[in-house]
């Protein structure tokens, strides 16, 4: 059953040194505030899993939290390289980073297999590609009915899944919508799940019966962190901070400017800083640009 905790307590209760951690969010709902808390708590030797490691994983890697990365696309979307990721792979800074690289299809299938309690995922993939030559976790199986050779990768079973969602209700159930990525699969595949939310509501109110709801018994801890996905976005709450993604390129290019930025923005900051970072990007409420509808909130923290 989920408990409502402060972000620091939630991360402390779930993430230990050496854990395999999946912080998911496919461009949308990236758990940035939770990732920053992991950095502040000084977690080490993590195996980080994520289809699209972007700024948050660049920060975790640059701060030396990770020994290994399992991923399928490591870039700053539409901008270019992840410089801390590159520095770790190309120069071993701040220390060497082992990589296990897949395709998106493989990762998505592997999360589903993890959620489904299967040992591996089977799909039609990697045909004619070089990744199977450098990643011995990519193997093949023969269909017992047709004889077709199919790709197989191990299921993803993280120790911890960390995600950000739009809201939780009083009972600790979690709702997410919009681009839902692989978060449901990551939570159900993991031993423990920590969720940050934009707000805690009395009741979810009218919603599609097919909305993505994570029942409270699938989640260990919930922390309310308004703006906690910044510079990613929370559909219905605030926009993606595209200018910030563009600015990250210069901040992260140089080791010193990266460390200075991390020192002020992350080590010297906290979850309470995120609400201000999304103020100008809000899509409803006092700073609204779009006047979209938000839900009735009991603790929107704005």
């Amino acid at each position: 059953m989920s408990s409502f905790l402060s972000l620091a307590e939630a991360i402390e209760s779930a993430v230990r040194d050496g854990d395999t951690v999946a912080m998911e969010g496919f461009t949308h709902l990236i758990p940035s505030a939770a990732g920053h808390e992991i950095i502040r708590q000084g977690r080490k030797q993590l195996t980080l899993i994520r289809m699209t490691p972007d700024l948050l994983y660049d920060q975790l890697i640059g701060m030396g939290c990770a020994d290994k990365l399992i991923f399928s696309w490591g870039g700053n979307p539409g901008v270019g390289s992840l410089h801390r990721f590159r520095d770790a792979v190309e120069n071993g800074w701040p220390h060497p980073l082992a990589i296990e690289e897949h395709s998106h299809a493989a990762m998505a299938n592997a999360y589903e297999a993890g959620a489904a309690g299967l040992p591996c995922a089977v799909f039609r993939g990697y045909i004619g590609a070089d990744l199977p030559k450098v990643n011995h976790f990519i193997r093949s199986v023969v269909c017992p009915f047709t004889g077709e050779q199919l790709a197989a990768v191990p299921a993803i079973r993280p120790d911890v899944a960390v995600i950000h969602a739009q809201c939780a209700d009083r009972a600790g159930n979690v709702l997410l919508e919009g681009i839902v990525g692989v978060q449901k699969e990551a939570v159900l595949a993991a031993k423990r799940a920590v969720v940050t939310v934009e707000e805690i509501v009395e009741d979810f109110g009218p919603r599609s019966p097919n909305a993505v709801i994570l029942p409270n018994w699938t989640v260990k801890a919930i922390a309310c962190v308004p703006g906690g996905a910044h510079p990613s976005y929370a559909h219905g709450y605030y926009r993606r901070d595209n200018a910030y993604y563009i600015a990250w390129d210069a901040i992260s290019r140089d080791r010193e400017s990266f460390r200075a930025w991390m020192s002020t923005e992350v080590l010297g900051g906290g979850p309470q800083d995120f609400a201000a970072r999304v103020r100008g990007l809000r899509t409803f409420g006092a700073d609204s640009v779009d006047q979209d509808q938000g839900r009735e909130s009991v603790s929107n923290g704005i």
């Binding site: 979307p77 998106h104 998505a108 799909f123 004619g128 681009i179």
Partner: protein
């Protein structure tokens, strides 16, 4: 009307798309070309981004494959695992539109590393959806700037399959999809030779010489029997494309022509 090499490349790529296509869109230049097609001759084209958005009609070009704009304007948005399993692997996509860092004469693409995999000179982002897009879509269009650095004799890494070693290589791997059928660059348009599958110049953009194309290609490039001249972008296409880029730049808080081209 004057235009840039990127503009004629984008327009030539957009024209290859049909109104009835279901297109899996890569970010950057493919996204600009696909949306230009949608805003001009192919208003009913179904654009799909790997974040799960199906039938999206963005007013501005997304910076990432999962910008909110794509979800807001989509017919529907599905989970990422469903996107890759049912829609891509299930064979529902007619055209996959890709870019890349390096390409060879058989349109195999590298977006993984420059140099050896275990000790790369440059670590690139990696394949993302490309390995399966390249084999599961009915056919593949590729849009790339043509330089000696990007058009190479031998790839450092095959991220996604084109025509492999050429000839019937795709068939021998058990594939029924067509692979790369069109490669549009800032200098010319290439299509695979029907037999060898080597990418061959079929039309040259106005003002571009064969010498220039050869100086920008890392292998002895071949030409089709009848090489035409690529029709320049029309005033209408340029107006739509420039409006799209201007709206995008305003929305992303950057100067026009900035990161949207990355």
């Amino acid at each position: 009307m004057t235009y840039t090499p990127t503009e004629i490349m984008t327009a030539a790529a957009a024209r290859a798309l049909r109104n009835e296509d279901v297109c899996f869109v890569g970010i950057g230049m493919p996204s600009a070309a696909c949306n230009l097609a949608r805003l001009t001759h192919a208003p009913d084209i179904t654009l799909i981004y790997e974040s799960g958005t199906i039938g999206t009609r963005p007013a501005v070009l997304p910076l990432s494959i999962g910008d909110g704009e794509l979800c807001d304007t989509a017919l529907t948005t599905v989970p990422v695992a469903e996107m890759f399993r049912y829609w891509l692997q299930g064979g529902r996509i007619t055209v996959g539109f890709l870019g890349g860092a390096q390409i060879d004469r058989f349109a195999n693409l590298n977006t993984t590393v420059v140099g050896p995999y275990t000790k790369p000179k440059v670590r690139l982002p990696g394949g993302g959806g490309a390995p399966e897009i390249a084999t599961s879509c009915g056919e593949i269009y590729i849009i790339m700037n043509q330089t000696r650095r990007s058009f190479v004799e031998k790839l450092d890494f095959v991220t996604s399959l084109g025509h492999g070693e050429g000839g019937d290589h795709r068939r021998r791997l058990g594939l029924k999809t067509r692979g790369p059928t069109k490669l549009v660059t800032d200098l010319c348009v290439l299509e695979p030779d029907p037999n060898t599958k080597e990418m061959t110049v079929v039309s040259i953009h106005p003002g571009v010489t064969r010498e220039r194309i050869e100086a920008s290609t890392g292998w002895p490039i071949r030409y089709a029997h009848d090489v035409g001249e690529t029709p320049p972008p029309t005033a209408g296409e340029l107006e739509v494309l420039r409006d799209l880029h201007a709206r995008t730049a305003r929305a992303h808080g950057v100067a026009a022509g900035g990161a949207a081209h990355a």
